[in-house]
Amino acid sequence: MLRRKFVAVALAAAVLTMGTAQAATISFGDAMSVMARDCGADVEKYCKNLNLGNNRIADCLVQNQDKVSPVCINTLVAVTASLKQRLAAQASVVKVCRGDAARRCTGVVQKDAHILDCLIKAQRHVTNKCNAAITDAGWR
């Protein structure tokens, strides 16, 4: 029980830290590679017939945290935070880059990746904030 509380606190701390520190994010693919590497054996052992969706694997690992390897629990916390951070970064790009798009990409059709492509090409003239948002979104 105590450990579960610890996980919750660590998770909240990780999310907060990452949210403010603007650390570089990693892709969902890379996050899942780390998850499989560090938690694969525990998933096979304790959560074999459960799925990734609806938090079932994460919930199962936390429920079995007394048996699950500490490395896996740490990775679970980091990966959960990393997914949230990447999603937040992607959601923020349009807002953060709105001014840059208006300045540098007038007349560019606003669909698919046209604006993004324009901003990437204009990188040297784009604000640091917008450049950082695109990088954190994983779209560079």
Binding site: S27, F28, M32, N55, A113
Partner: protein
């Protein structure tokens, strides 16, 4: 590479050996190479205008009514062939809908691709296929449940909008290698771009 953007990268990939290998080699060989999000983004890009309107419910009804009759009984399904699509390898626990940890990365890469601005406004069909071992009706049900499991993971853990994702199963009816219906290469997941979100 870094500064040219995804469109520049797409152009190079499309003309290069990587994309060609992914599209032309038998799935088993293509899958043996490490899949990347870039390959998924390039391979699943929208056609602009869609040549075929796809109704996932019509697909499900057609295969349900023709279990065990194979491709010839599935004219609606054959129309999917003209759409932009990729085959990926996602493994499940035996007789279960649980994705094995070894395939978590592939699910993550699909999520990366679906969140990319180049694919963000498109809907996708997730089609589950089995090999021919076992009962065709059972296989159809299993393939549907597995496709639904992938959809659920993408729509919850990876926050892809659920209205962009449609899961259907086709069991053993459309083998990748019809000459070897029991072969592992027939167990696969097909991702099909079915046009812009309404």
């Amino acid at each position: 590479m870094r500064n040219r953007g995804i469109r520049g990268m797409a152009a190079r990939l499309a003309g290069g050996a990587v994309a060609a290998a992914l599209l032309l080699l038998p799935a088993g060989q293509a899958m043996a190479q490490a899949l990347t999000a870039e390959q998924l983004i390039v391979g699943l890009q929208g056609p602009g205008t869609l040549t075929v309107a796809v109704d996932p419910r019509a697909l499900a009804a057609e295969v349900q009514a023709n279990v065990g009759k194979g491709a010839a009984a599935l004219p609606t399904w054959s129309k999917l062939n003209s759409l932009t699509q990729l085959v990926v390898d996602i493994n499940f626990q035996y007789d279960s809908v649980a994705i094995v940890p070894g395939s978590y990365r592939t699910i993550g890469l699909i999520a990366d691709a679906l969140h990319h601005p180049l694919l963000q406004r498109y809907k996708f069909l997730i089609v589950g296929h089995t090999d021919a071992r076992g009962d065709p009706g059972y296989n159809l049900n299993l393939s549907l449940k597995r496709a639904e499991a992938i959809r659920e993971a993408l729509a919850t853990t990876f926050a892809v909008a659920p209205d962009r994702l449609f899961a259907v199963g086709v069991g053993e009816e459309l083998p990748f290698d019809p000459g070897n219906p029991d072969a592992a290469v027939n167990r696969r997941v097909q991702l099909v771009n079915i046009g812009p979100v309404d």
